[in-house]
Symmetry: C2
Subunit: 465 residues, 2 copies
């Protein structure tokens, strides 16, 4: 049986009152896309048996596969399994391996298992059970004959392909759901799709989404396999290239060709990698060159270091960094001069430069990046408004050799000074961000990472010569 | 006209292929909850006119208010406004103030306005237009007589209360949508609801959700106004107390009474504040006591400092901190001894203690917290598995006076040593987290903040005596 179309239904009152963001739907959608299974509808409802039954019937009238998350818990308002069994017209029986697993889950934690936990081991007859490696509620898949749902309803927009419909039930907690999907549901579904989708993400920094779209609009409109779609977030643009074919190899080839075409356009000036992030690109590049990097942060307060160290293996190129929030710390840890702070202030190209220089000296790294700015909401002035941020990159002399400018920078940014001091090259960027404190900090981190990456790439070019 | 029930429909293929997480739905749900407007369904569909029309009709058959996000852009696949106008049976006309705003948006950015941008200023006759302060697409509200949708369909589960239905269209980009909702939609809706909801969040750290539920189950089952609901995430439990009444004052009173009852139970051992976060509580407590805090981080790589500095005003109590990822940096910046690293390793109570001590000396703060651990995925051993993390809090002698243990710690954590060194009290916690690198780091940051907060609260108690 081949599954062509799917729907996702997320059950939980906490979604409807806005208490949680429905990340499960996005995760499952992305997974289904990769498996080549289309979706036309997604829904969320509360913990209500009547509405659940209605939604399941409606979904099964228009798709081959319905994935439901949530409502598998032990309490009275967890109704999903019971509702599905009723619709399928099958009994619920105890699934012994699940009961054993639940028992040992409680035993290993020295907890008392209450009666309602045993309810979690009850499964509709005929279900394929998915083990829960992170919690107590098992998941399941159940195939149901379409005749049970064919009520001649008018809203069958996308009639399912087959005479059998599949319902998959997954637990609501995202980490339980993801582990189950990855380990068990994906292999289960992979055999039920006749084509696969494969996506590659072309990562750009320093160009707006509309500018990228302008450059590529003809290419995007004319492409159907692979498709090209731009997405933006936090100052970055991601071009998603998606190919559909019978095998991964054919998909790879189709993607590679499209990527080559795209990188022949002017967006290549903003390109930093495929399927990566700025922090991963920084760590990869530094590893390749055998160079150590460091950070000196004021307004970003440790988040740049936090991003770099999020990358497994970053310890090979990052020994440490400092957060110098007050002027005193900038002087004490980084050797920023009293006169500099007095004459130009903490948020100035001069201070940024001395911070970057100090960080090199303090840590012995090859390249450093510093960030100082006004994250807001308070602290701005007419001369130095909220969102003004200076970013400096310092590197041992000759390593980057006065780059004319870092290649990758936010559209609002420009190079405001270069200088050499104590055998060190320093380049300072001036950025003006807008929006909230959170966003100013996020864009500052991204810009700092991009500046660091640009310096590393330049160092790589120099090394070759 | 009073609005009792609403539905949210998010339009955009990027949602269905899992390329973005639908945060708009969660935001609007939370806002509607506050306004006392109930929801029973949420859906998402792609950029498809036929399905859009079907979903609008279905939604209007079962609610008073339908909020649609997305599809207001300038391109061919943005169809929401046109579809709604067609359903309402009204013409589209140019809304001149919107056209002027769009023109000046382009002029101020020195960009050429193309013809399709003018399309964004077209509005259905009779619509209330909402200005877009962050982008080009205006939003709108339109009231439609219910008779246009009453097709006798069977799936009218929650028949709307009134004979007039309201459709609100909002732009898809979250920052545009939020600004518009906050400034214009909320006041528009506030006059159309006869009761309000008000929620207070009781924040707990160190207790599992099931344990909290066990303690409070009777209270939760018996409460209807206010309701009490537990939510968990990243090792924290949030108890949401929600009251419904005609005025905020009555809501406040109802909530206060329930909170008092809850804090009379054993969950109060894990309580750290109302409507706050660990980092906000740390900054608030430190400000109150006039004490400075600092951080020395290894496996969390700057994220603890990043969390503290996310709080506006944190500069009053946080001067800076260090990220010491390598052993060399631990020695150089924090004075961790060679012998300690050699005999006990970087991930040990001894190293954590010396890191916290070194951070106090380096920064001159009153209380410091250090974190060292194995975040994974590599680097673990049988003796020191991935997820093993030591957290130390050091404070000037007498300030916290050998706390028997920090009050707030993750269920997996326990105090493994106290000692006094150089007039400093040091307490070390041993934590064993599981799951991914990201989650180990997140739980480590939360635990470090909780340990810091516990020390501050103890210092506050001492100060009073």
């Amino acid at each position: 049986m081949i599954i062509k179309s799917a729907e996702i239904l997320c059950v939980g009152t906490e979604i409807l009152i806005g208490d949680i963001v429905n990340t499960n739907a996005a995760y499952i959608s992305a997974q289904l896309s990769e498996l080549g299974i289309s979706q036309y509808y997604q829904s969320a409802i509360g913990d209500n048996s009547e509405r659940l039954e209605h939604c399941i019937k409606q979904a099964l009238s228009r798709c081959d596969l319905l994935i439901i998350t949530g409502g598998l818990g032990p309490t009275y308002d967890d109704l999903t399994k019971e509702t599905v069994a009723k619709l399928a017209g099958v009994r619920m029986v105890t699934h012994k391996p699940s009961l054993e697993r639940i028992k040992s889950f409680f035993e290993s934690r020295n907890l008392t298992m209450t009666g309602n936990n045993a309810k979690q081991a009850m499964m509709p007859v005929g279900a394929t059970v998915f083990e829960n490696s992170c919690g107590t509620a098992p998941g399941m898949a159940l195939e149901i004959s379409a005749s049970r749902f064919d009520d001649g309803s008018e809203d069958i927009y996308h009639a399912a392909e087959s005479s059998v419909r599949t319902i998959i039930l997954l637990p609501g907690p995202p980490h339980e759901m993801k582990a189950m999907f990855e380990d068990q549901v994906k292999p289960y579904l992979a055999t039920r799709s006749d084509e696969i989708l494969l996506s590659k993400n072309i990562m750009l920094f320093g160009i707006s989404e509309s500018a990228a779209e302008y450059v590529l609009s003809d290419m995007m409109l004319m492409s159907s396999n692979p498709t090209i779609a731009p997405y933006c977030g936090d100052g970055e643009v991601r071009l998603r290239v998606t190919a559909r074919a019978k095998t991964p190899e054919v998909c790879e080839k189709k993607c590679a060709k499209a990527i080559e075409q795209i990188l022949h356009t002017s967006v290549s000036d903003y390109f930093y990698g495929i399927n990566t992030s700025l922090e991963k690109a920084v760590v990869t590049e530094a590893c390749k060159l055998g160079l150590h990097v460091t950070t000196a942060e004021s307004c970003t307060g440790g988040l740049t270091a936090g991003a770099i160290t999020a990358v497994p293996g970053s310890s090979a190129v990052f020994d440490g960094g400092v957060v110098t929030y007050s002027n005193d710390m900038k002087k004490k840890l980084l050797g920023v001069r009293d006169e500099t702070l007095r004459d130009f202030g903490a948020v100035s190209p001069e201070t940024a430069g001395e911070m970057a220089l100090g960080a090199l000296e303090l840590t012995g790294a090859d390249i450093s990046v510093s960030v100082t700015g006004i994250a807001g909401p308070g602290g701005g002035s007419e001369e130095k408004p909220v969102g003004l941020v200076y970013i400096a990159v310092a590197s041992k002399a000759g390593l980057t050799n006065h780059p004319s400018h870092p290649v990758l920078c936010h559209p609002s940014a420009s190079v405001c000074s270069h200088f050499t001091s104590d055998n060190t090259d320093i380049t300072v960027l001036r950025c003006q961000f807008s929006d909230s404190r959170e966003r100013v900090r996020t864009l500052s981190v991204k810009s700092a990472l991009a500046a660091l990456l640009s310096a590393l790439r330049l160092a790589g070019t120099r090394k070759k010569h």
